[in-house]
Structure formats: C-alpha cells, structure tokens
C-alpha cells in the first residue's frame, strides 16, 4: 500500500524533474501526469480491495480452520526416524469350540495325511494364531512384507516374509521369500479374512490347509481392459504335497492364470486355473496296522494337482455397505505316482519294511455362499466333498504282505461336510462369528462342531484382496 504510493510519488517527481520549460509541453505533461496519477490510484484501489478481500478470506479460512482443527496440506506429526515406520497390524483371534469328536484324533479318511495344521481347534476355549504383520515400501523398487504368527503353544512362526518388485515394466511382478502360493482362490488369502473359521476339506486334504512355500514367483498382468494374469512359482517344495528333499534345484513348480472382470456395476467375478507339481522324497505319515501297532509310511515320486476356482460377488450398484453376496467354489484334482514304503519295525514288526508302487487319482471340491443381509450381519453356507477316486496301493494289490487293514487311513471313503456360519461385524475391524458344522471327514464318525470365534484387527488398515 505505502510502497505503491511511494512509487507513484517517485514517478511523479521524476516526470516533474525532467519536464522541459515549454508551456504547451508542460500542460500536456501535467495532463499525462494527472492521468498517470488517476491510473495509479485506480490500480491501487483495486489492489487494496483485493488485499482486503484476501485478508477477509484468509481470516474466514483461519476461523474455520481453527474451528475445524485444520492443518496445512501434507503436514504430519511424524518426524525423524519414526517417520519411516512401516505399516504394522495385529490380528487377535480366538475360538470357543464344542466338538463331538476328539480333535486330537482328527483324520481325513481315504487321503494321505498332509501332516499340516488341519485339525479342528482344541475343545473349549483356545487362542488361535495371533498375526503380526509389518509391511512397507523398501525403496522405489521393492516392497517388503512379513507376517509372523504367534501360536497358542507360544511359538512364533513365519507365515510370510517376502519382497516384491514395484518397478518392473510391462506388468511384471517378481516376488521372493516365503509366501502363500497364488494357486486357487483361497490359498493366498490370510485365514483371518476367510468367511469360515476353517479351510475347506479340499485344502486340508490336498494342501495341508494352505500352501506356503519358500521360493520365487513371477507374475504378468496383461495390458487388456479385462483382467488377465499369468504366473509361475518355483520353490523348495517342502510342504505337502512335497517334502523336505535336501536337494539342490527346484522341488515344486506351479503355474496359474486368472481371468476377471465386471458384469454391469453390480457383479464382479474372477476365475482361475492352477497347476502344481511336486517331487516328494520320503514324505512320511504315521498310521497303525491291523493289530494297532505303529507304522510309518513313506512316499517318493511325483505329484500333480489341478485347481479350478471361481468367485462371483454381487452388491446392488456395486455398493456393498448394505447388502452383498459372494459365491465361491473350487475344484481340485490330485494325482500321485511313485513308491510307498510301509514300515512296521517300530511297532508289531510283522513285515518290516516293504516297498511297492503307489498311485492315486483323487478329487475334491467345495462351494460356498455368504450373504450380508443387512449392515454388520452375514450368513453363509458351505458344502465340502472329497471323492476317493482311485488309490492303487501296490503293496496290497501285489500281495507283498500288508493288507488294506494295515492302511486304515487309506480306506475307501469319500468325506463330506456341511457348514453354516453367522457373523456380526460391529466395525470393519472386529468380527464375532458363530459356526456349526457336521463334519464327516472320518469314516464312521460324525463330528458336530460348534465354534464361537472372534477376529480383531488393530493398527494399519490392511487392504483385503478381492
């Protein structure tokens, strides 16, 4: 304001000083100066007005800011070393279980035991896995994720610990470390985000619950307007259906493809095909012979698995807050080809160690639907079925000694299970679930399972996969 006036005065002085003494010129000059002065005054008035307006606006903004506790853009209370802390979240889970059969004796009859964590939860109150996950960008090129499960028997287990590339071109993503395989639909999803307390029977029988492996994965997302993704994985192949081989090279390889898209605004879908190959070497499981003596069975050979999966989600106009429905199903086919060694020397020692050819061709599937019928409340139903298919046990068929009575786990039986669940989620971060299942996993036994489960999520807001 003052500056403007000073400049105007200086300009006027300069003009006055330089003015020649001729009258006509002087009059002209005066006229010009008058105009200049008016011009400046006008501009200054305009400036003043704008300044006042700006001040008023700023004042108003300040008031509202103070009222609403606004801060400037990008301001953050974090500073120093703390500012780079990765996203940390913790999942608390627990179950109350009422089961008519003893979960310690749980078996899936007709299928080679996976030795995975597939048994129902302990009876009564029990703590499920407490999951601590830490994730963040490492640099512009990599992202790191670690998920540690603290189990109820006071052990820490590395569920996932992997890096993933962020900067590869052309839709390529490389992942390495320990991670849940991307085969199937449910496999890469953490258990706390499942719609039921436990895994489908097919996952329990063929993948030991959930396949996590140490290896690398390369994925490619196609540049198409619909979703197409192809991927391959190479890993040590330690977990079922593989085994710890103590060998160089690759113990397990997998390929998978996913296709997906929207049907109008209300439907979204994804379908996939996966293939998994393993080369187990001395993969063992314990059983009992006809007299109840302990036996050890060990398989070496090749296994192949195919999985077809599909999921369809519906929400009116794509708005899932009020109601939504999710339909999901997966089909498994599992083939094994190799040799089985039967050993009863630690038990009744009738036959000692016997080896014969062993091959299986078995299938399983499940289908489930979960309906959120009003905000916070969902109900779901799941049907599970495993088909015994063919099991050619050369030891029995070729009369090498042990009979089918010495392989009770491999008895000809096709398990089924019916499950209903009902859950209530007070917020996005908490869920309480009731689940009832009639589980016929074991020949001749029906396990009526009733679970009350809680799932709480603390800390960073983790994004869930489709």
């Amino acid at each position: 304001m003052f500056k403007g006036k000073l400049i105007a005065a200086a300009v006027a002085l300069a003009f006055a000083g330089a003015a020649p003494a001729q009258d006509g010129d002087l009059a002209k000059m005066r006229e010009e100066m008058k105009q200049l002065k008016e011009d400046y005054e006008q501009r200054m008035r305009a400036l003043e007005k704008r300044l006042n307006e700006a001040e008023a606006k700023a004042g108003k903004a300040e008031q509202s800011a103070a009222k609403a506790e606004a801060t400037s853009a990008g301001a953050s209370g974090r500073s120093g070393e703390n500012a780079f802390n990765p996203a940390i979240s913790l999942i608390l889970q627990g179950t109350y279980a009422n089961e008519s059969q003893n979960p310690n004796n749980y078996q899936i009859t007709g299928f080679v035991p996976s030795n995975g964590e597939v048994a129902p939860p302990n009876r009564g109150f029990s703590l499920s896995e407490t999951e601590l996950s830490i994730a963040g960008n490492i640099d512009p090129y990599f992202r790191g994720t670690a998920v540690v499960a603290l189990t109820s028997d006071n052990e820490a287990e590395v569920e996932e610990a992997y890096f993933q590339t962020l900067a590869l071109p052309r839709g390529l993503i490389l992942k390495g470390g320990r991670f849940f395989s991307d085969i199937g639909y449910l496999n890469p999803i953490h258990q706390h985000a499942w719609d039921f307390q436990d895994a489908p029977l097919a996952y329990k029988a063929f993948l030991g619950g959930q396949l996590k492996q140490d290896g690398v994965q390369l994925r490619w997302v196609a540049p198409t307007p619909f979703f197409l993704e192809l991927g391959t994985e190479f890993s040590s192949g330690d977990p079922f259906p593989g085994s710890d081989r103590n060998a160089n090279g690759i113990g397990s390889s997998a390929v998978f493809g996913h296709l997906g898209g929207d049907i109008g605004p209300s439907y979204a879908w994804r379908a996939g095909l996966s293939y998994l190959r393993n080369s187990p070497d001395n993969r063992t499981y314990d059983d009992v012979d006809a007299t109840g003596g302990e036996t050890t069975n060990s398989f070496s050979g090749k296994t192949k698995m195919w999985i077809a999966d599909a999921v369809l989600k519906w929400a009116p106009q794509g708005n899932a807050s009020r109601t939504n429905f999710k339909l999901q199903g997966e089909y498994f086919r599992f083939k094994q080809d190799g040799n089985l060694t039967y050993d009863d020397s630690a038990g009744s020692n009738v036959f000692g160690s016997v080896t014969g050819p062993f091959n299986t061709d078995q299938t399983g599937w499940y289908g489930q639907g979960v309906w959120q019928f009003m905000p916070r409340w969902r109900v779901g139903y799941r049907y599970d079925k495993l088909s015994y298919g063919t099991v050619n046990n050369g030891i029995v068929n070729d009369g090498l000694g042990p009979t089918s009575a010495d392989f009770p786990v491999l008895a000809n039986y096709s398990p089924t299970r019916n499950t209903v669940m009902f859950d209530w989620s007070p917020s996005e971060f908490s869920r309480i679930r009731l689940q009832y299942a009639v589980d016929k996993s074991q020949q001749g036994l029906t396990d009526n399972q009733f679970f009350v489960q809680y799932i709480y999520s603390l800390g960073a807001h983790g994004a869930h996969r489709f």
């Binding site: 509202s64 800011a65 609403a68 506790e69 606004a70 801060t71 400037s72 853009a73 990008g74 301001a75 953050s76 960008n137 512009p140 992202r143 993933q164 962020l166 900067a167 590869l168 071109p169 052309r170 839709g171 390529l172 993503i173 994925r219 490619w220 997302v221 196609a222 540049p223 198409t224 307007p225 619909f226 979703f227 197409l228 996913h258 296709l259 997906g260 898209g261 929207d262 605004p265 979204a268 994804r270 989600k313 106009q317 794509g318 708005n319 899932a320 807050s321 009020r322 905000p375 916070r376 007070p426 917020s427 996005e428 971060f429 603390l458 807001h461 994004a463 869930h464 996969r465 489709f466």
Partner: protein
C-alpha cells in the same frame, strides 16, 4: 491370406490411432474423473473406478480395477487414506511402476488443499478416522480450483507434448469455474447458518464453504452404520436444537435418514455428492448446481 492382411491392417490401425496414444487416467472417484475430462479433453482417456452410488471407503480391489490400473499413466485419487482399503492393492497387484506412491503417475488431490477435521486423537475408538484429515475435499469449489491447477501441472509433466493443450483447457476451465463460484455464492448466501443433520462427515467442506451448520451425524462414529440408540439420541437432541433437513449422499443407505426425517418432521434431502449421484449432476458444474438447488429447495 486375405484374413491375415485384414488383421495386420487392423493392428496397424490400432497402433496408429491417436485415441490409443492418449494419456490414460484412472480416477478413483467420479469427481476427479470429471475434472480430468475437463482438463484433458480428447487427449486424455479417463476411466472412473467407482460410481456415485458406491461408498468410496468400501470398494474392493476388483479384477477389473487391477486391469485398469495396469494400463494407467496417471491415477487420480482423493488421498488422505480414503482409498486405503483398495488402492494399495491396485498398486501392488497391477505391475505398473508409473502409479506407485511417489511417482508422477500417482496424484492425491487432498495433498493440494487445506484439510478440515484433522483429528486431535488418532484412535480407532473414534471410528474409521482419517489421520490426515477429512478426505472428501471436492465439495468446496476452491479446493477444485487448487486441485485443477495441480492436476494440470501433473498432466503436462507426464504428457509434455500436450502441455500447452492442457494449460489452455485448464485456464478456460478455471475462468468458467470462477464465474460459477461467484454465482453459487450469491445463490447460496441464504444457506448460511442453516442447521442440518448429515449421514456421514462427507459434506464438511461444503458446509464450511456455504456456512451450513452441522448439528449431528446419523453415524454414531465415522464409518459405523447408524444404530437405533444413536438415532433416538439424535432425535431427542433435535428437539432442543432443531435442524432444517436430514442430508445424505447418494451412496448412503436411505433408511436412517428416512427414519429421522419422519420422526423429526423435517425433510430428507439426497445430495448427489459427486458426479452421477443424481440425474442432473452430469459434470462438476451441474454437480454444484444441483447440490445448491436441492439445499435451497428445503431452506424456506
């Protein structure tokens, strides 16, 4: 043979066609899609991830969105953690280095405005709070202005060949926008001080701009669905401090607003909230026109 020739011609045409050489923008919400269209004209091809009838907090990282993120040169989102439940997955699952956080192809509108309601207490006991402040920044026209300037710069940075085109369109847009603001402020002057109940705290920037007085929310805490006990508390509070209308956004469940409207004897108003939320809200200008018209209609 002839078939192969046609195929080759088709592929060449696809490669040569300018529509396929344009700036691919994935907008998280319709308002930013509309803004990108205003600034980008026919040099930008814009795909909007969500509709006005969807709750931007609760979107899933659907396969179709991952596919769109794969081909995007620029992702334009609200930011301030609004899309925290789905955008990170689009970034990590799409294999697109351009749209990673910190890259020019990642644009958060909320970074360019002064945010309201920055929580003093960042704790989930307060509901689904956003530590950076209220992310629904697009219902203040001054915010749109600021974001437009920043977005135009970003578009010019990524697609420098068309920088002049984007700048020219942006200047033209801003001129029309400033004229429109003057008109809206004149028309909306009578709304100053009007007490309203909102569904979610997603109209705070609008209220702050026009001076509407928010006397309550249907949600007990941000992001939690309305409960019967909270609504009856609210109803008794309205007996002492009455509101002129219950205002909800198009994506909110109408039940709670209708319940309160019937019992408190005040009209329930549905605002478009964003482009496409009502038949009239076809672009940013008509979004504001319709929002004002709907509020003025109940402020008699």
């Amino acid at each position: 043979m002839a078939r192969i020739q046609w195929l080759a011609i088709g592929i060449l045409w696809l490669l040569a066609h300018p529509a396929f050489a344009s700036l691919n923008i994935l907008a998280c919400e319709p308002e930013w899609g509309a803004l990108a269209k205003e600034l980008g004209g026919d040099k930008a091809s814009v795909y909007v991830a969500t509709t006005a009838l969807q709750d931007p907090h609760r979107i899933e990282a659907r396969p179709s969105l991952i596919a769109r993120a794969r081909g995007a040169d620029l992702v334009v989102c609200s930011g301030a953690d609004l899309e925290v439940g789905w955008l990170p997955l689009l970034q990590t699952q799409s294999g697109n280095p351009k749209i990673q956080t910190g890259q020019p192809g990642y644009f958060e509108a909320a970074n360019y405005v002064v945010k309201l309601e920055v929580p003093r207490l960042v704790d989930r006991s307060q509901g689904d709070v956003h530590p950076g402040g209220n992310p629904h920044v697009h219902l203040s026209p001054y915010n749109i202005e600021k974001v437009a300037i920043a977005l135009a710069e970003r578009m010019a940075q990524i697609d420098s060949r068309e920088a002049g085109y984007y700048q020219a369109r942006t200047s033209a847009f801003l001129e029309r926008w400033r004229q429109a603001i003057a008109k809206w402020e004149k028309d909306g002057a009578s709304l100053k001080g009007m007490p309203i109940v909102v569904h979610h705290k997603d109209l705070s920037y609008l209220n702050n701009w026009l001076g509407l007085r928010e006397v309550g929310e249907l949600e007990p805490k941000p992001g939690l669905p309305p409960t019967a006990s909270h609504l009856s508390d609210l109803l008794s509070r309205l007996g002492r401090d009455p509101a002129k209308a219950v205002v909800r956004s198009a994506y909110n469940d109408p039940q709670a607003a209708e319940w309160l409207s019937a019992r408190a004897g005040i009209p329930a108003v549905t605002l478009p909230f964003t482009v496409g939320g009502t038949d009239r809200a076809k672009d940013l200008f008509s979004l504001y026109d319709d929002t004002l018209a709907r509020l003025l209609a109940v402020n008699k």
